[in-house]
Amino acid sequence: MRATVDGSGIVAQSQSALAPFRLYRPESVAEVKAVLAADPEAVIGAGCSDLVARIREGCAPRALVSLRTVAGLAAITHDAGVLRLGSMVTHHEGATSPIVAAAIPGLAAAWSRIATVRIRYTGTVGGNLMARRYRYEMPLLLGALDARLSISDGRTLGTGELWTDDTTALLTDIAVSTADLVWFGYERSMRPTTTVAVAIRRGEDATLSVHATAGSEYRRGISMRADTQVGTAADIDPARTASVLAAQLPADIADYTGSAEYRRHLVGVLARRLLCAAAVATHHREDEPHE
């Protein structure tokens, strides 16, 4: 809250107490890049649902480049085993997209449970990632899916790298490989204490590996991985694999909502639940990869 930053209390001040910022409304990615190069103080704004909260918490951008009118950032495609999400895809669009639902049903289902109806229409996948807030869930979902983020400076990053890379360049799109993806699911029933996302992928030797992330409101997501010797999700030993995953959590995993022991226990329970769901869901299609 701005008032807290000022030391003057906890009541939010009106927006009008803030100095106006320089506003840019570019229409192409090239124009965004030109603005960012010419005005290094410019902060990117997508749906601005997080940015407004940040401003009310005391952040005072001197310049804002709005992505609202930038063409070509909201596409969803699934070609040659790659699901590609433009950074401006809103939660509502992602959750209701037939392309996402066909490519990774578990992602569409998880996406539909993010936030509230108002925020789902406004908030974007790019904003959720680039806000770099531990409590936001896209880094967990896309982290377990090993998504690659295309940045306008020419690099691609993994979602985990966002916590150590402080780029303020434009995120253009997010790519998720589906060619070897067998199943994906997400458990948020214990949110805010612990959530777990699980992706099961088939390796070159035809055995499956489990890629998972564990999140909580107050800690950055943690990646875990367990390789199996089996070829179908139904043959994965859920209890054993879940405990292999949970054992990878760091010793200092405790936060405000639970001790390390409790959080490790929860990750084990939620991962086991997801692996059981994977066995049931893939039972009839003999673990055909998503194409």
């Binding site: 229409e27 804002l64 509230t116």
Partner: protein, 182 residues
């Protein structure tokens, strides 16, 4: 760039000028509005302070409580967390636009009155706009859908059951008004 106050630029061209204040044009409850606003103005302030829409309430100012809900191009948004520049070219609807010009209440307003969907009334304008947005999208929502939508707005008074009933009744009255007799 779409703003006349900024210069069109391409990579390598001179720095574009950002604007500190801008002109926006949008439709408010069906009437065209032209406003000159500060770049950082939020829609809630513009609607309440500049355009006199006092039915749009501010409370949490974090997009959480729903008191400030308005429809922008038919979808509910938190006006407290929407920069006013974002509605340039859009259609904005507030609770002031619900009743007919002769004062006849809309089906949603009648339903909330009939079912006691409010006590102090602070949340009611946001609830009415949320209901309007929902029924445009799903004229006959089931209870689960109503709960999903209503759960995004906070009411400190009612316990929500009467609000749920009000939304169901609003669906019936809207269908009846549209000629689809229930």
């Amino acid at each position: 760039m779409s703003d006349p106050d900024t210069e069109t630029s391409v990579a390598g061209a001179p720095a574009p000028r950002g604007a500190l204040d801008i002109s926006i044009e949008f439709s408010l409850n069906g009437e065209k509005q032209n406003c000159r606003i500060d770049s950082n103005a939020v829609l809630l302030d513009v609607l309440r302070e500049n355009l006199g829409c006092r039915g749009v309430r501010g409370s949490c100012e974090r997009g959480v409580c729903g008191a400030c809900t308005v429809l922008v191009d038919d979808v509910p948004v938190a006006s407290c967390s929407t920069f006013a520049f974002a509605v340039d070219g859009a259609s904005v609807e507030t609770v002031e636009g619900l009743a007919a010009a002769d004062g006849t209440l809309s089906p949603q307003q009648r339903a909330f009155a009939e079912c006691g969907g409010y006590q102090c009334g602070f949340c009611t304008s946001g609830m009415l706009m949320l209901t309007t947005g929902l029924l445009r999208r799903e004229p006959r929502p089931d209870r689960g859908t109503i709960r999903d939508w209503i759960s995004s707005n906070t009411c400190r008074c009612t316990g929500y059951e009467m609000i749920m009933e009000s939304v169901e009744r609003a669906a019936e009255l809207t269908a009846a008004q549209d000629g689809d007799r229930v």
